[in-house]
Amino acid sequence: MFELSDLEREAILLSLKVAFWAVAVSLPVGVACAWLLSRKSFPGKSVLNGIVHLPLVLPPVVVGLILLLLFGTTGPIGGFLKNVFGITVIFTWKGAAVAAAIMAFPLMVRAIRLSLDTVDPGLERAARTLGAGPIRTFFTITLPLALPGLVTGIVLAFARSLGEFGATITFVSNIPGETRTLPLAIFSSLQVPDGEAVAIRLAVVSVILAFAALIASELLVRRHEHRPET
C-alpha cells in the first residue's frame, strides 16, 4: 500500500518545500513582531496585534482573496514584485508559500511572544550594564532564553503551513507539481472515482509529518534545558 506514486511524492516534496520557505521567510518578521508586542509600547500596538491575528479569525478563503488582490500582477504588491524583481507569485509555489506564511503567522508570533514575555527584562538590563548593546543583548540573552517558544512557534507554523488549504487554493489554485500541496492533493484525489486509497495514503503521510515535527521540537527544547554545563 505504501508505494507512493510520482504524483504523490511530488505533492509531499512540494508541501515540505512550501512549508520550509513559508517558515524561513516569515521567521525574522515573526520574531520582530513578537518582540515589538512583548517589549514595546507604541501607538497602534493594538492595531498591529489585530493585523497579526487577523488570519486566525478570517475565513481562509477571504485571506486567499485578499492575497489575490494584493499579489495579482496588477495588484499593488504583485505589480511591484513583477516590475522591480521580475517575480510572479500568483499561481506559483512561491505564492503557496506566501499563503501558508500568512496563515501560520499568528501562531508563530503568539508562541514566540509568550516566550519572550517570560524572559526577565532585568536580565537584558544587566547585559546592557555589562557593555552589551541592544543587538548583542537580544541575540545572547533574549533569544536564547526564549528558545523553547521559538521552537514551538517554528513547529506550529511549519505544521500549519503543511496543512494550509483554503487560502492556497483561492490564491494560487490547484496546479499539479506547482501548487498542489498535500491537502490539495488529498482533496483532488477525493474528486476522482476510486481516489480514496490515495487520499488515505496521503493523510497517513500528513499525520507522520506532523508527528515528526512535534517530536523534533520536543527533543530540541529538551536538549536546550538539559544542556551539559561546560
Partner: protein
C-alpha cells in the same frame, strides 16, 4: 570624582538628588525602602532617563539634559550589582563572569576569581548556587567589565541573615583590595558602617544629608532617618594594642582609648566603632568600683527634647558620642548643654558587627 544631579517626576513621587562621591571612595545611599535609592542608581547606570540634570564621572559626562547627552548603559562603564543577582540562567558561572569582560582581562579574571573565591563555582549553573554565591558571581561579573563606578543595590537584601555573614567578608576584601568608586545602596545601618566611608541619606527622593559616616551618625537631628533602635555615634579609631591577658583590644581616638572585647589586629589599622546610643550611660561623678571599663569625661552638647520616655544626649568626649537615657534620668541629673559628664561605655557592648572600616587607610 562622581558628580550627580538628577531630577525625575513620577506620577506620585519625585526624585531630586544632588551629591558627589570622591574617586575611590565607598558611599552608601542610605534610606528607607521606597525612598528612591534604586531609582537614583538606575539613572546613574542609564537604565532610566532622568528629566533633567547631569551625571559626570572623572570629567566624563554620562548624562547632561541641557546638552542633550545621554550615553546608553553599555557605553557608561558603570558596573551594577542588582538586588537579585540577575545572573544569566542559560550560561554557567564562567560564561557569566566573562560576559562583560574584554579579551585582555585574563589577569583580572584570575585575581577577581581568587578574591571572591569563585574558582570552585566556575562550571556550575547559576540557578543551582546559593544566594550568597550568586551575589559573589554577580559582583565578579560587574568588576570584570572594568567599570569606573560600581553600583551595588542592596546586594545582601535577598540573602538570609546567616548567609549575609558569609558574604560580608568578601565585601570587606573588596573594599580593601579594589580601588574603585562604589555606591552602595542599603537600608541596613550596620552594613553602611562596616563598608562605607561616606553616607548619603535619601528621604522621599531627595538627599537629606551627606558626609562622612562619623559625621552623619553623630547628628541628633538625623536620627529619624538613620534609624532609632540602632542609632548611635561612630568613632574613627586606630588599633593600638591587644591586652592578651584579658583579651581586650585597645582603640585610640581623640578622646582617649576605647577598650573592646576580643578584637585583635595589627597596630595602626583604622577601625570604625559604632557605639549604639543605648549602650552608653552618663554619670555626674566618676563611678568607683564599676564593671564598666570605658569611662570618658566630656561635656554635653545637646539634649533632645522628646515627648517619649527616652532622650538622646550628644556628648563631646574628644569625639561626638550619643547616649540614650530615660527622660527621668535626664530630669533627675538635670542634664543640659555645657554640663560636664562622665560617659560610660560597656566594652562588651561593642561586638564585631559594630566594627567596620578595617584595613583601609584614612581617606
Amino acid at each position: 570624582m562622581l558628580s550627580v544631579q538628577l531630577e525625575k517626576e513620577y506620577p506620585q513621587f519625585a526624585i531630586r538628588a544632588d551629591f558627589n562621591a570622591d574617586a575611590g571612595s565607598i558611599s552608601a545611599l542610605f534610606g528607607r525602602s521606597g525612598a528612591g535609592k534604586t531609582s537614583i542608581v538606575d539613572m546613574i547606570a542609564g537604565l532610566t532617563r532622568p528629566d533633567a540634570g547631569k551625571i559626570e564621572i572623572g570629567g566624563d559626562v554620562l548624562f547632561d539634559a541641557a546638552a542633550g547627552i545621554n550615553l546608553p548603559p553599555e557605553k557608561r562603564r558603570v558596573g551594577y550589582v542588582f538586588q537579585n543577582s540577575r545572573l544569566f540562567p542559560h550560561m554557567n558561572v564562567r560564561r557569566n563572569l566573562l560576559y562583560g569582560a574584554s579579551a585582555a582581562a585574563g589577569a583580572d579574571f584570575r585575581q577577581i576569581a581568587h578574591l571572591l573565591d569563585l574558582e570552585p563555582l566556575m562550571n556550575r549553573s547559576p540557578v543551582k548556587l546559593s544566594g550568597g554565591e550568586q551575589q559573589r558571581v554577580a559582583i565578579g561579573r560587574a568588576l570584570l567589565s572594568q567599570p569606573r563606578l560600581l553600583l551595588m543595590d542592596e546586594p545582601l537584601a535577598g540573602i538570609d541573615v546567616q548567609r549575609r555573614n558569609e558574604i560580608l567578608p568578601f565585601l570587606d576584601r573588596l573594599r580593601a583590595e579594589v580601588d574603585l568608586t562604589m555606591l552602595y545602596v542599603s537600608h541596613e545601618i550596620e552594613e553602611v558602617i562596616r563598608l562605607a566611608d561616606n553616607m548619603i541619606l535619601v528621604s522621599d527622593g531627595t538627599i537629606a544629608a551627606s558626609g562622612a559616616v562619623e559625621d552623619i551618625m553623630s547628628r541628633l537631628d538625623l536620627k529619624p532617618l538613620t534609624g532609632r533602635y540602632e542609632s548611635g555615634a561612630v568613632l574613627a579609631t586606630t588599633y593600638e594594642a591587644y591586652d592578651a591577658e584579658f583579651g581586650l583590644g585597645h582603640l585610640a581616638f581623640d578622646g582617649g582609648t576605647l577598650r573592646v572585647a576580643g578584637l585583635e589586629m595589627d597596630h595602626g589599622v583604622p577601625v570604625r566603632a559604632h557605639i549604639r546610643a543605648r549602650d552608653v550611660s552618663l554619670a555626674l561623678s566618676r563611678p568607683a568600683q564599676s564593671s564598666i571599663l570605658n569611662v570618658f569625661d566630656g561635656r554635653i552638647v545637646e539634649v533632645t527634647d522628646e515627648p517619649g520616655p527616652q532622650v538622646d544626649v550628644l556628648v563631646d568626649i574628644g569625639a561626638p558620642i550619643i547616649a540614650r537615657v530615660t527622660r527621668k534620668s535626664a530630669h533627675d541629673l538635670a542634664l543640659k548643654p555645657g554640663q560636664p559628664v562622665f560617659t560610660l561605655i560597656k566594652a562588651v557592648a561593642i561586638d564585631k558587627r559594630s566594627l567596620g572600616g578595617q584595613g583601609r587607610t584614612g581617606r
